[in-house]
Symmetry: C2
């Protein structure tokens, strides 16, 4: 018998499998705000898990990933509910990667602790990080070879331009330099991806040009933040019609504030996935 | 009777009072790593509070502030111990501000959650934040008028230069632009401070020149990270011989790995405070 090589399922390969399985580039963002919970759960921080579980189960067939935003859990002393939620996703929807949106940024021994938080404690498949402190703020995460590291590049908020749009030595803008670094010298092991907001499609296209087709791009801001799906898809897609993780949070989570919230979330998720797919299949 | 105006004790005024009370610019960083705990506490994550409490009580008379690094608590599922630790500092050492080192960076509703985590849940006096996402990633913290927001400017790690040293349009470096923004348009309420590492004294001096004497500068990297006290003090001090929060973590926490660790920590803290004061009082 031939010796079989052990194949590690990386974040990149798990994501590609999820894109294919569910015919979806939609990521459902989990930003649970008890003030917006439906019916009897309104204002109940002890219902964060229940609310998110119902959203997850209702939308899993429409999604390629889930993205819990850790701030919403940390503000409510709900880390245990975040652990339970990710365990639930892994048990019930094992094909769908979990991206922990934490935007961590620190160095050395401290970054090792944050990596341990994301990958060991929460068992996330990927974590978002901030590039301001440079390569050695990224390296500790790369020691977890089967996980992804998604680096902030261009963010969709107004203040995103304060630093990211500055022209730096060599003539490119700071976000372009970040894209070039992350796609080049920082991406020693193929574990990296980028965050690029949906509000600037021409910049998304520029980032795709810089990083090529191998690197996934997480695009927040579809839906509630107003980013146009068609323009984003056109700008960020790869030649094979994938390469993107298009995140929508509030438009799905709070599609209804009544007891039908899970069904409403499913409908909005499906419509969003279909809108993405229409844009993917439109003539370029 | 005259109507008395309510005076809010801001982070800035609390810090100035602590500088004066303890004749100290030393901040004791709390980066608890159970693998380095003394004696019977070695490897016991349930002793994080006990270890930090003993360090705090032993060093409080030598310090102007404490800076817990949240990653060490989060990696060990020890948020409750962090809450207890900060409550202990506030109860037993009420004159000493607590800086939560979290380096958060996010926008809008998410930044509001992080502010709530730092200021409501943990009751920190100040929090460290990352500037990459721009002004609207800072604004939500400023709604807490009595708290401080300490923005990363120039970090002491090797990779800190990857982005921070880039020359940007106008001819200054990125960290200089951050200093100028934080001291100017971002500092609408006098709540901001900066983080500038100890390994580049000439850059620390440059930042002090940009921001003037009103803005505190948190300087990590005294001690274990090898930053020279004398050069840093000369570069970063204000005219009145204050203005800095000089942080040392590991050199104090792990001064001894035996049962005398608290006494050893006190000695190192005292020596560090005295070295800082000698540098402050040396002829300029």
């Amino acid at each position: 018998m031939a010796t079989s090589r052990t194949t590690i399922a990386t974040f990149r390969t798990r994501l590609a499998a999820a894109w294919a399985q569910n015919d979806s580039l939609l990521c459902v963002g989990l930003d649970p705000d008890p003030a917006r919970f439906p019916g009897a759960w309104r204002d109940r921080a002890d219902r964060i898990f229940d609310f998110c579980r119902d959203i997850v189960d209702a939308t899993a067939a429409e999604a390629c990933a889930f993205k819990p935003q850790i701030a919403y859990f940390a503000a409510r002393r709900a880390e245990d509910q975040l652990e339970s939620l990710i365990a639930h996703i892994r048990a019930r929807h094992p094909a769908l990667p979990v991206i922990l949106d934490a935007k961590r940024g620190d160095i050395g021994a401290t970054a090792e602790q944050y990596a341990r938080e994301a990958f060991e404690r929460y068992r996330a498949d990927a974590v978002t990080v901030n590039p301001y402190m440079g390569l050695d703020s990224i390296t500790p995460y790369l020691a977890w070879h089967d996980r992804g590291v998604i680096v902030l590049c261009r963010t969709s908020n107004a203040g995103g331009s304060d630093l990211q749009s500055l022209v730096v030595e060599g003539g490119e803008r700071l976000y372009q330099r970040v894209a070039r670094l992350v796609a080049g010298p920082w991406n020693t092991s193929g574990q990296c991806a980028l965050v690029v907001g949906a509000t600037f499609p021409q910049e998304l296209a520029e980032v795709r040009r810089i990083v090529g087709d191998e690197m996934p791009i997480l695009v927040p801001g579809i839906g509630a933040q107003g980013g146009g799906i068609e323009a984003s898809v056109r700008a960020g897609r790869t030649r094979d019609g994938t390469g993107m993780v298009l995140n929508s949070s509030r438009a799905i989570l709070y599609a209804s504030d009544r007891d039908d919230f899970a069904g409403a979330a499913r409908r909005v998720a499906r419509e969003t996935r279909e809108a993405i797919n229409r844009a993917l299949r439109a003539p370029r």
